[in-house]
Every structure is written in C-alpha cells, then in structure tokens.
Assembly symmetry: C2
Homo-oligomer: 333 residues x 2
DNA sequence: CTGAAAGCGCTTACAG
DNA sequence: CTGAAAGCGCTTACAG
C-alpha cells in the first residue's frame, strides 16, 4: 500500500507537509501543493483511515443500532436506516450498522473499542436497556424514540400526543363521536413501546374532553392474524363512524379488509392513520394520515449527534419532537 | 482511555505480555494470566480497534453496499441486510453499511482507505459499474446477484433459470398450457437486472419445449399502477389458467386484486411466484412459490468472503447458485 | 512556508 | 515463560 511517506518522497517534501496539504491545516506554497497533488494522483494515494483515526481519535464513523422486534412490521424500518445513513454521509461520516441481539453488549463493544465517534439508537423503548450502556460510553448518543429517562442523551421523536390530538380534533370537527382506535399489539405496550400509549392515552383524553367515545383495541402486527383481528374489531364496533389506525401492519392490510367487507371510505367509514409518505406509497394507502417523518427524525438525530461530537458541550441534551402534520387524502367525511 | 500500557503496569508485566495474553498467541503462566485478567476487568480495558487494525492490517469490518433502485420494492431488501449483518457478526465481523448513490466511488473510498477487509455487494446488475472498482481493490468481494462477468469475485444467486423450469414443469404437470407471466418492470430489464430475463427466458424456452404458451408481461413495481397493471394483464389473458408472478410488488398486491375480481385461487386460476418465507409472511401470501432465500444468499456471501479474507488463494472464484425449491401452498390445480 | 520528531495504541519478530 | 524495541500510517505541537 502506498503511504504518506511515498507521497512525500515522490514530491520531495516531508511527510508532515503532505499531511498538512491533505488537511489544509496550514498554508502550503502553490508549487509545493502542486507537486504533492501530482504525486498523490500518480501514486493513487488515499489516507489510511485507521491510522488517521488513531492519530486524531476520530473515526468518522457512527454506530447505528437496530433491533428487530417480532411485533414490528419490517417495511417501516428501512426508511430510518436510509435516512440515518444518507444524513451521516452528507456530514462525512460512515455507518457501522449493528443488528446484534444483545443491544447493550453491542454498544459497549463498539464504543469501548473506539470503533465509532457516536451512536444512533433506533426504535427506543420506554425502559430501553441500551441506554445505560450508552450513557456509560465516552461517545455521545442520539435516540430515535422517546424513553422514560432522557438524561444525557439527545432524543428525537414524533410528538405522538400531539398527533393524537390532531387526529381527534379533525374527526371531532367533522362530527364523529364514535371512533375506533386500532393500536399496536398488546405486546408492544408490554415491552415498553411508549409511542403506543402516548398516542392512545392522548387520544382517549382528548375524546373525554369532547365527550365523544373512542374504543381502543389492540391490533395485530404479524401474519396470520392481521386481517382477522381487523375484521373482529370492525365487527364489534359497527356503530363507529371513524377508524384511527396506529399500527403499520394493520393499515397496510386495511384496504383489502375494507374491500372485502364492502366498506367504502369515507362514505361508510372515515379512516385516519399515521404513516410516512413512502410507506403509504409502497402500500398504496389512500388515507388521511399524520406523516411519521422517518427521514426527518433520522436526519435530526444524525445532525445533532455530529454537532455533539464536534462540540461536546454545545448545550444541554435536546429532546426534539417533530410536529405532526396531517396530510388530508380525503378519507374522512 | 485505558490502554494496554495501563493494564501492563497494573499487572506488573510488559505490554507485550498483555497483548499475548489477549490474543493467546503464546503461552502465559497461570499466575501472570490471572494478574492480567484481574487488571483488565478492574480497569475496564478494551482493545482499541483502530490501533489493532493498524498493527495487524485487519479491521474485522466488512463493507456492505446497498443501492436503491426506484423500480424495486423496498420490503425485500431488509432481509438481505439482516442476513449479511448477522452472518458477519457470528464470524466476528462488523458491518460498514454504505448507501451511497455513487457505488463505485463508495467502494474506492472504503477499500482504498482500508476501512474494511472485504466487501459484499447487494443487488448486483448485469453490467454493474461497481464491479470494476471492486476488482481494483486489494480486498476481496462477494456478490449477491449474478453479473455478466464474474471474474475475480465470489458470486451467489438463486438459480433463476432452474426456478423457471421448476415452476413451468410444475404447471405443465398439472395440465396447464396457457400461462401468464408477470415479470419485473421493463425498466429492470433495461438497467440490467439479469434475474428478470434469466427467469423469463428460461420459462419461455421450457414452455416452447413442451409446446405450451407463456405470455410474458412487464409488471409494475411502483404505486400507483401495480393493481392497474395486474388488472390490465389479467383482462388481456382471460383464457390463461395459470399465473406466474416474478415481481415482488405485484405479488404483494395480487391477493387484493384477485379478491376484487372475484377470482378464486386455485379454482379459477393457479398462481405460482417467487418470494421468501418472511416476505410471504409479511404480506400473508398464500401462493405456491420458489423460496428466494435471502438469508441463505446473504450468509453464503459472507462466509465465502471471510474465508477468502483469511486465505486469499483458497481456490478459484466461486459462482454459487442456490437450488430453487418449490414450496407448495396449494395455489395450483 | 517547511521539517524532524514524538506520539496515537496496538502487535510481533527478536532475544533471552 | 517474559521483555525491550521496532513498526503499523498517520497528525501535530515544536522549531526554524
């Protein structure tokens, strides 16, 4: 492999001069710079990332921790991954993606060995066991998903409470007062998927305030059972005039279920959900919905993390909520 | 940060002894080893990955290159990513995931800077521009997807020709002689998605041999248009008794389309497709299908790559086809 | 504007 | 069974 020493020799300068030419950290005369550039392109030189990392204590790599819950609908995850990866690259960082079953162990491994400059956690739960490991790391961390205790970490999430209020207000404004809510599966609540109850509780509270009724049910997220569960819920609540679906797998299955039931939206039933534009596009979902912004969340997490890496004390930890926006696709009346 | 020197000092030995104790590359007396272990756990020492990489020229990281084609159905991709990531971890490797738009540039960047010991390419096309960059790298590469020229690279793919023959044989054996094939979109053929024509051409050839008819159509892969395109194809071919769908987006949409048309499978139409067990599970697909084995392909690619890293000349490049297997789900008659 | 030297934290022949 | 030293390929004060 060709090193900075080879370049220095070819250009007739010292290694430090080549290094400074590379980094731009001190002025270099025009002719010296030209000789160095010529040598670099002639020899096809690239800085060795490991050596640079050792010398600078910066790897220019971010850790990205994923965990796959059985109770989650896989297609939604990819959008977060891409958003994080793209945002990182734009800021000059690469992504070390870890899908380890043992999240805390994986965090300790990549942080204590200094493989990364910072860590992004996806799919954070209420009492996420990875947070402790992340707090003990010397690298900063950014979360997508709101845990119980946000201390010492930058956190980004959709404001699910506000999303619920937005949706309930929308339906109430249209005159609905008997509404069915399909939540994530019971198991998501039990394992601490806080987005599930943040949404549900806010919706119920808002409904109580208006004196209207919301019937909350657990939906399914795994086949077989999604369609069956939706049908069972709809069978139970024939008097409801509106349906809120906060469940990726269920909303993806809803068009088929409603078609089969002969239910026409919004004539027979108003439908509102939460999903990203891309998700809706993939599954051809025609419903009015709150945009979940995986792209915005992923980007924000990365941007703050990089800022925090550059400037460890740039301020107290941030808890950033994305303001929900309702995209009206005409599925309510 | 605590270094190997701190451990050596605490244990009262030299740094080299600590290093050998860590690697096991030479015998250490029991009591020395115990003192070292005690010091390590007391100080919470972890080897610095960058420094080790610099000294050994091994990063223990594999590059994983993804590219997102507009004409692809996103949900299928995640399975490959997970398979590669899990297989790598089992062999002691981490994954540097690169989603750069500029594939060849990304390969040059991560290989020439020695960030990775090897590279896995997903979603390889017939004339994939990334291959040239990969061949010029000093690290070995493994591909998922068969390109025109496999020289110097380990390649793994489903045997799409054999899959086509398997499916045609199956349908021919059941007495079908008028069959519709929904292929990937035209655009996939044009940009060199070889799996598309490998499957189609083999199916047509086999049909010709049996003297039966296969009508090949391009399907869509993006909304809106998937359902419409399926309906248009089915409207054109009302005399066909069997449908082969080689198109992820179309097969995911098929149940809804057939329900709407009132077509009962297999009474009115036999259906065969290609998809993975997980994909079928996510979309509740009840069709007899060739298993596409993203897990098996991902694992194989990683295993061979790691083998090749350890032993650069362990043999000539491998082109490994996964034998297709038909999972009978009763959707043909 | 440039160079010589120390140092980042490891590994591994070389010696004993 | 163990240690002293060189080396991996960089960066960056220190000096001039």
């Amino acid at each position: 492999m060709t090193t900075i020493g080879d370049v220095a020799k070819a250009a007739g300068v010292s290694r430090s001069t080549v290094s400074y030419a590379l980094s731009g950290n001190r002025p270099i005369s025009r002719e010296t710079r030209e000789r160095i550039d010529a040598a670099i392109s002639e020899l096809g030189f690239t800085v060795n990332a490991g050596a640079r990392a050792l010398a600078t204590s910066q790897t220019m790599v971010l850790g990205l921790l994923l965990q796959f819950h059985e109770d989650e609908f896989p297609p939604a995850m990819l959008q977060y991954i891409l958003a994080v990866s793209d945002a990182a690259r734009e800021l000059g960082y690469d992504i070390l993606m870890v899908t380890d079953g043992d999240g805390p162990g994986a965090i300790r491994r990549i942080t204590s060995s200094n493989m990364v400059d910072g860590v992004v956690l996806l799919d954070v739960t209420h009492d996420d066991p990875r947070l402790e490991a992340l707090r003990q790391a010397r690298q900063p961390g950014a979360l997508v998903g709101l845990p119980r205790d946000t201390e010492g970490l930058d956190v980004f999430d959709l404001d699910f409470g506000e999303a619920a209020r937005l949706i309930v207000d929308h339906l109430y404004g249209l005159g609905h007062h008997d509404i069915v809510l399909v939540s994530p599966p019971r198991h998501v609540f039990e394992r601490g998927g806080a987005y599930a109850w943040r949404f549900r509780d806010a919706a119920l509270e808002r409904a109580a305030r208006y004196g209207i009724r919301i019937h909350a049910h657990y939906g399914e997220s795994q086949q077989p059972g999604i369609e069956r569960s939706l049908n069972a819920i709809l069978d139970t609540r024939t008097d409801a005039t509106a349906l809120i679906v906060h469940n990726d797998a269920s909303i993806a299955a809803l068009p088929g279920v409603l078609r089969e039931r002969g239910t026409v939206v919004p004539r027979d039933l108003s439908v509102v959900s939460l999903y990203s534009r891309d998700f809706g596009r993939t599954f051809l979902l025609p419903y009015t919905a709150v945009e979940t912004s995986p792209d915005g969340l992923g980007r924000k997490a990365v941007q703050h993390l990089v800022r925090r890496i550059a400037e460890p004390a740039y301020g107290p930890p941030v808890v950033g909520f994305i303001e929900p926006e309702l995209t009206d696709r005409g599925s309510t009346a």
